[in-house]
Subunit: 418 residues, 2 copies
C-alpha cells in the first residue's frame, strides 16, 4: 500500500505533552526587565490563560476540544505516503515514508496550532490577534483560523516577502486576514524606519508586540518555538505512529526540518518516550547551513525577538542580532529554537544536521520529479535529510525505515526554483 | 467516512470508450481544404498512430499501458471526498461528494491525458511535442509528462496569461518545458503580429500547428476536445464508480465544469451506459455565461482554431471568431466543444447550465472557507452547479446524491479572487 490513510474515527483525540515524560526540568523563561523568572501576570498580557496553562502543564495528554477537532477533520488525518518512487530513484534498501501536511487549507502544518490558538483566544474573550509572518505560511494559517472562530487577525509581514509573494497576501485576504508590510506606519517602532526598509522578522515581531501591549483585548499569537505551539503539532507524530502500526513497522530514523521547531517537535515528540525507554530510533533535525541554530548556535538564554521585548528563553541561539543571509526557506530563518528541542539536543536525544542550499534544492527537484509534489523550500531540508539517510542505508545494506514530515507544498515559492 | 480512498490495487487498468455504447454514429472530422472527411494520412502529420487509433476505435475498454499506469500511480487513485461541511453550510438533505483531481503533480486533471499522450508519442518516435496553453494548466501537465518520457515539450502560451501568471511558467520550467509567449517571433504567423499583442488561444494553436507541419519528427498535443483525450480522462469517472460502490451509493446528479470537455467527459462517460439502460441519473455540464458554448452555441461543423488550419468538427460552437470577454476561468474560454459531448447534449442525454462570474466566485469562496480547498476558477463552476442542485434537493426535500469533479486547485489563480 503506497498511501496509509486513517479514518476520521482514527484521528487522535488528544495532544501529547512531551514535558510529562522528560527526565529533567526546563529552565524557566525570564522577565526581560529583571532577568528573574517571569510572572504569569506579565505573560497574560500577551497570551490567554488556557494557552499559558498548556505552556506550563505536566499533564501527559491534553484533550483536543470538540470545536478544534471539528476543524481538524476538514483536512486531517493527513496521509502517510510511501516514497517508493524516491526509493527506486535512489536504489536504496530503505523504506521511506513521508507525512504530508501540505493538504491543509493553507498548505502547511501551521494550521494545526493556528486553529487551537484562535479557539482558546475565542473562549478567553480576545478581541483581536496580532502576529508577524515571514514567508507567509503562519500568517495564512492564522487568518484561516481567525475566520473559523470569528476573531480579526492582523499580520505584520516582512516587507521584502510582502512584495515578493503577492499570492500569500491574497491567500490571507481570502481568509479575511488583514496584512500590512512591516515596517509599517501603524506602530511607533515601525515609523522609526525608512518607508522602503526591507524589514525583518525581528521588526515585525516588535510591531505586533507593540500593538498587543497597547490595545485593550488584543493578544499575540506565535507560530513556533513555545511549548504550547509544539504541543498542538503533536497530532502529526501521533498520526504517524498509528499509520506505521497499520503496516507493522517501527521507525529507525525520524526526520523533519527545523526552524523554530514546531514541525520538528510535532513530528518527533510522540516517539521520544520510546527512545527514553531504550528503543533505537534516531531523530534528525534538518536546518540550513546559512542559519545553523542547532548545529552552530550556543545553548544559553536569549531574547525571542531582535529588539529585546520578549521574555528570555534558554535555547540554542545564533544571537538575537544574527542576520541570516538571504535564503529562500523564509520559515527557517530564525536565530533561536524551541527550548524543549534545544534541551533534547543538548542531552543528545535529538541530533541536528545542516544542509547547503544546493543540496536542498537538488533534493526538492528530485522529489518534485519522482514523487510529483513540489515541496516548500523549508520542507526540502527534510527531503535532503531523508536522501542522506537513504544513501547511508544503501552503504550499510540495511532495510531502514525512514520517516519524514513534508510540512508543506511549495506552490507559492516556485520563483525560488527558477 | 468523509474521504473514500481506493488502494493502488483498485486503480482502474483500462480506459472506458463511450463510443462503444452510443446508439448513434458521430459525424466524421472534415478536411479543411476539401470539406470531405479527412484522410488518416493527413492526421498522421499531426498525431501519432496509436492516438489516431484511439480517436476512431469502437473497442469498449482500452488497456492502460504499464508505463502509463506507473505514472498514474504516483498520484492516483485520487480521493472522493464527502463535502459534509458544504452540506452543513447549505443545510441540505443532499449528500454531496467531490472527486479531487488537484492532487496531481501539476494541480489539475490534465496530467491524466498528458502522460498517455506523451507515452504514445514516445513509442511512435516523436522527437518534439508542440502545444498551446491558455491559463497554463495544460502546458504544465504536458511539460511534466514530457520529462517522464524524455520528449522535449514546447509551449506557446497566450501572452496575457504568460505575463499575468509567472508561476505557471516557473512550474513548466521546473518540469523542463520550454514556454514562449504567443504571438512569438518563432513562427511566420506569430511574426505577423505586433510584439505586444496580448495573444489568443487561436493564435497560439496556429503557431504550434505551423511548427508541427514544418518540423521533422514534431507532433501536436491537444489537452481537450478530441475523443482520445476524453478517453484518457475516464479514469476519473471509473474511480468515482468504484468509490461510490464502496459506500453503496448511486449518483442522482453528476456535475463537472465544461470548457473543451475533457474533465466533464472523463467524469461522466463511465455513467452513460447506466443512463442509456434506463437509470435515472442527471448529467450537468457547467459553463460560464460569458462563453456559453453548450447553452447558446449552434450544433454544426466548425474549425478548432481561429485561423482555420485544423480539421472541421461537428460540435456546439460559438463560431471560430468568437472572442470571449476577459474572464478568469481561462480554461473554459473555448468557442467549441468535444464532438461526443456535443452530440450527447443534442440527444438530451447531457444537459448544460451556465453560471455568472459572481455566482461562480461566490461558490468558490464558500467552498474554500468550509471545505478548506481553494478551487481553480474553472472548477468553481462545478461547485456552483452542485450548490444549485443541493438547494433544489432542499426545496424538494430529497436526499439526492450529488457528485462533482473538482478538476484542480486554484493556488495559481489567487489574484482572480482579489
Amino acid at each position: 500500500m503506497r498511501v496509509i490513510y486513517l479514518s476520521t474515527e482514527e484521528m487522535p483525540r488528544h495532544w501529547y505533552n512531551v514535558l510529562s515524560d522528560l527526565p529533567f526540568e526546563l529552565d524557566p523563561p525570564l522577565d526581560p526587565e529583571t532577568t528573574n523568572p517571569i510572572s504569569p501576570e506579565k505573560l497574560l498580557k500577551i497570551f490567554p490563560e488556557p494557552l499559558l496553562e498548556q505552556e506550563m502543564t505536566k499533564k501527559r495528554f491534553i484533550e483536543i476540544p470538540d470545536e478544534v477537532l471539528k476543524e481538524y477533520l476538514r483536512f486531517r488525518p493527513t496521509p502517510l505516503i510511501r516514497a517508493k518512487f524516491l526509493e527506486e530513484y535512489l536504489d536504496t534498501p530503505a523504506k521511506i515514508f513521508y507525512k504530508y501536511e501540505g493538504v491543509s487549507p493553507t498548505g502547511s502544518h501551521k494550521t494545526n496550532t493556528a486553529i487551537a490558538q484562535v479557539y482558546y483566544n475565542r473562549i478567553s474573550g480576545t478581541k483581536v490577534l496580532y502576529t508577524e509572518t515571514g514567508a507567509g505560511q503562519w500568517g495564512s494559517a492564522l487568518s484561516y483560523a481567525g475566520l473559523k472562530f470569528n476573531i480579526p487577525v492582523k499580520v505584520f509581514m516582512v516587507r521584502v516577502s510582502f512584495e515578493q509573494k503577492p499570492m500569500r497576501k491574497q491567500l490571507m485576504n481570502l481568509f479575511g486576514g488583514d496584512v500590512v508590510p512591516s515596517p509599517s506606519k501603524f506602530t511607533e517602532f515601525g515609523k522609526s524606519f525608512d518607508e522602503n526598509h526591507p524589514g525583518s522578522l525581528g521588526i515585525a515581531i516588535s510591531e505586533a508586540m507593540e500593538k498587543v501591549l497597547n490595545e485593550e483585548g488584543a493578544k499575540y499569537s506565535l507560530g513556533s518555538v513555545l511549548n504550547h505551539v509544539l504541543l498542538h503539532q503533536t497530532v502529526i507524530g501521533l498520526e504517524i505512529k498509528k499509520q506505521l502500526e497499520k503496516v507493522n513497522l517501527e521507525p529507525d530514523v525520524i526526520i523533519a526540518c527545523h526552524g523554530g521547531g514546531s514541525n520538528f517537535g510535532g513530528t518527533v515528540f510522540p516517539f521520544v518516550p520510546d527512545k527514553l525507554s531504550g528503543k533505537n530510533v534516531d531523530f534528525v533535525a534538518c536546518e540550513p547551513e546559512s542559519c545553523p541554530t542547532l548545529t552552530k548556535g550556543v545553548y544559553r538564554y536569549d531574547f525571542g525577538d531582535s529588539s529585546g521585548l520578549t521574555p528570555l528563553l534558554k535555547m540554542y541561539t545564533l544571537g538575537k542580532d544574527f542576520i541570516p543571509p538571504k535564503i529562500h526557506a523564509g520559515g527557517l530563518r530564525y536565530h533561536g529554537a524551541s527550548p524543549i528541542i534545544s534541551r533534547l539536543v543538548k542531552e543528545e536525544i535529538i541530533r541536528a544536521e545542516s544542509f547547503s542550499q544546493d543540496e536542498t534544492f537538488n533534493a526538492a527537484r528530485i522529489f518534485a520529479k519522482v514523487e510529483g509534489i513540489v515541496p516548500a523550500p523549508e520542507s526540502a531540508h527534510a527531503i535532503a535529510g531523508a536522501i542522506r539517510e537513504a544513501k547511508r542505508a544503501k552503504e550499510e545494506k540495511r532495510e531502514k525505515v525512514i520517516v519524514f514530515t513534508l510540512s508543506g507544498h511549495g506552490l507559492f515559492d516556485l520563483s525560488a526554483y527558477s
